[in-house]
């Protein structure tokens, strides 16, 4: 399971960028000289979670990426390390590659914590890496 890589491709539309901006409370967006909208910095978040049927998700609806066999059923907190190398704009075709990097057990105040580290890299149609996220999800009971 560790090291397994999932690859998907996405077409970025003006609507995708507008909706993301509205969801995060951004009211003004920059545009490229050709009128294409330029996405806010963390836009690649829209690609992170798997678009599988809901029946394939854990019972609490948490992301499929976290459906791994650890003896814990709650997903809490966590952290993100987000690097942005180039701007994403409408018309881009983004390929994301997501990989389970590690699962580490730690002792928390109320029992064991399972730290699940997932790295996702985003590349545009020109072969340029536009962003990379290393996310740590925490599972506990």
């Amino acid at each position: 399971m560790i090291g397994f890589e999932r690859v998907r491709q996405h077409n970025v539309t003006q609507s995708d960028i507008r909706r993301f901006a509205q969801a995060i409370g951004v009211t003004e967006l920059e545009t490229a000289p050709d009128g294409a909208l330029i996405a806010p910095p963390l836009f690649c978040q829209v690609f992170i979670f798997e678009d599988v049927p809901i029946e394939q998700l854990p019972a609490d609806g948490s992301p499929k990426e976290l459906d791994i066999p650890v003896p814990a059923n709650r997903t809490v907190g966590g952290k993100s390390e987000f690097e942005m190398f180039a701007r994403v704009r409408a018309g881009d075709v983004i390929t994301d590659r997501s990989k389970l990097k590690s699962v580490v057990t730690k002792n928390g105040k109320s029992g064991p914590l399972y730290l699940i580290v997932v790295e996702t890299t985003f590349e545009n149609q020109h072969g340029t890496t536009v962003a990379r996220e290393t996310a740590t999800y925490v599972k506990r009971n």
Binding site: I24, P41, L42
Partner: protein, 156 residues
């Protein structure tokens, strides 16, 4: 880059505050963010599920808190800056209807010939000044860039 921005960059030093961004996430905003990121984790939209996991309301997504910090950074940097890196860790849950204060401080300024890189320490506080997230960032300012210089971010 405009002369005023250049002057500001030349005098920028560790310790300078970034200002404060106050935000109050709503249930509607949490719904929109879950929808746009296709995050179907029920603790973000189902109060009963959230309660069954010990939360007093639906919980603000970690990703949305990151965007609040990104907004703080892009507002501070203006059109001449590009956010290159943002790290954040959620240490306590946040809930809709509660005002959050996003704050930051410059911690390091590195000047190269054509670019200045600025590292900042970041925090998100609840109304009672309890920290719910902390992090850090790096922003680059290309000294030769035009206003739209290929380096902008969403402005707010």
């Amino acid at each position: 880059m405009q002369a005023q921005q250049l002057e500001r960059l030349n005098t920028l030093a560790p310790g300078e505050p970034l200002g404060e961004l106050r935000l109050t996430p709503t249930r509607s905003q949490l719904f929109m963010f879950s929808a746009v990121t296709w995050n179907r984790h029920q603790i973000h939209f189902d109060k009963d599920q959230a309660a069954s996991e010990g939360f007093r309301d639906v919980a603000v997504q970690r990703g949305l808190i990151g965007n609040f910090l990104a907004r703080l950074m892009t507002r501070w940097a203006g059109t001449g800056g590009r956010l290159e890196r943002l790290n954040w860790k959620v240490t306590q849950s946040a809930f809709p209807g509660e005002e959050l204060r996003c704050l930051g401080t410059v911690i390091k300024v590195v000047r190269f010939r054509d670019v200045t890189k600025v590292n900042c320490a970041l925090r998100v506080l609840r109304h009672n000044n309890v920290t719910i997230a902390n992090g850090d960032s790096r922003t680059s300012f290309a000294l030769g860039a035009n206003d739209d210089g290929g380096i902008g971010n969403a402005r707010k």
